[in-house]
Amino acid sequence: MAFTREHDLHKRRWGRNAGLGLTLLAFVALVFGLTIAKVQRGDQMQGFDHTYQVERDPGARTGGAASQAAPEVSE
């Protein structure tokens, strides 16, 4: 009897590869979605990005605690 492509081993291998491929795709999609969600929320991440940007610090605009707590940053 020939060891044909239709053997159960091949079916299992194909199923495993397809399953893993779909799992990885889902993982990539999830990480992408997470990135979008976190970037959309934004928070204060650019307010202290290497150089202090006063225009991105809401505390500085209102004269609140955030601006007083901001460290002096020089280039």
Partner: protein
């Protein structure tokens, strides 16, 4: 010829597992409970995450639960082979090699903890890591084969998911998260001891020191009743916190009454009567225990909806 083919198939069966065999390693039925309770923990918390973050948190908590399931199957392959209930699991059946299960378990543990930490916060990631450690090492490797109180302490591992969900959303612990933990923790012993009553021969063969094996069925029946009585104040107490309310209290009253009646019947029952009807009462109690847990957590979810707030205001609920 067919002998040769059969031989090839047998020799190459290991390492050529199907995708479903790996899914089975993650104990999907247990995972469904983890998904549900973790999701409730996330949704009833006072801080709401972005829907994608919520989805990611549930997935990674479930993945962590699956990882600990794979590690459990790796360690317990010898006793799974002996027990009828577990003989068809991927390792004893020869579908997956033992080392593959260990590798999968460790890899998924790392991925799930790191991804949950990145997606939500590191307290939640750390709690998930502790849960995996607790289930794989404290319960599976240490307690399961050494003490009849194995499932009492080991049950904590199954109780953590709603607490992880809560911590993922809020970044801290609270009374509510402890009560959700305690509800599952106290529910686990009666649930598993009811199973052990009608699966006793399996545990005896595998020499797992379940209470039924070491202390007998009479003592196990008494333990089911005692733990059920101890569970009731935990279940009802949650009604008077921020995650409870009148709807939850109503559901809890009904379910706890039914659960207590079931435990009382199990306690009163002589062994010969149980054998005569093939443990019908014990099997019914086991089924009820599943509905019990689902009902309480579903009620928590209902309490998180605006409908429940309106209902509470309408009846003048003061808590």
């Amino acid at each position: 010829m067919s002998d040769i083919q059969a031989d090839i198939t047998r020799q190459t069966r290991t390492g050529e597992a199907g995708f479903g065999d790996y899914v089975q390693l993650l104990k999907p039925r247990v995972m469904s409970l983890v998904v549900f309770t973790a999701m409730v923990g996330l949704l009833v918390a006072p801080v709401q995450l972005h829907p994608v973050e919520t989805l990611a948190a549930v997935i990674f908590i479930a993945l962590g639960g699956g990882a600990s399931g794979a590690l459990n199957m790796w360690w317990d392959a010898d006793i799974d082979r002996v027990m009828k209930r577990t003989a068809n699991r991927p390792i004893p059946s020869g579908a997956v090699a033992s080392g593959e299960a260990l590798g999968l378990g460790l890899a998924l543990s790392g991925i799930s903890v790191v991804m949950l930490g990145l997606a939500t916060n590191w307290l939640a990631g750390g709690l998930l890591a502790f849960t995996i450690f607790f289930y794989a090492v404290i319960y599976t490797i240490w307690l399961k084969r050494s003490t009849p109180q194995n499932i009492v302490i080991g049950g904590a591992a199954g109780a953590f998911p709603p607490m992880i969900g809560w911590v993922a959303a809020t970044g801290s612990f609270s009374l509510e998260s402890v009560l959700m933990f305690a509800l599952i923790f106290m529910w686990t012993p009666p649930h598993f001891w009811a199973l052990a009553l009608f699966m006793n021969s399996d545990y005896s063969k595998a020499k797992v020191p379940m209470l039924t094996v070491t202390h007998g069925r009479r003592v196990t029946r008494a333990h089911i009743l005692v733990y059920t009585i101890a569970l009731i104040p935990v279940a009802l107490g949650a009604a008077f916190t921020s995650i409870g309310g009148p709807v939850y209290l109503g559901v809890a009253l009904v379910l706890n009454t039914l659960f207590l009646i079931g435990a009382w019947r199990i306690w009163r029952r002589p062994e010969d009567a149980a054998e005569a009807d093939k443990y019908a009462v014990e099997k019914r109690f086991f089924g009820l225990s599943l509905a019990y847990l689902f009902g309480h957590f579903a009620a928590f979810l209902v309490e998180a909806t605006p409908f429940a707030d309106s209902f509470a205001a309408w009846i003048g609920w003061g808590f």
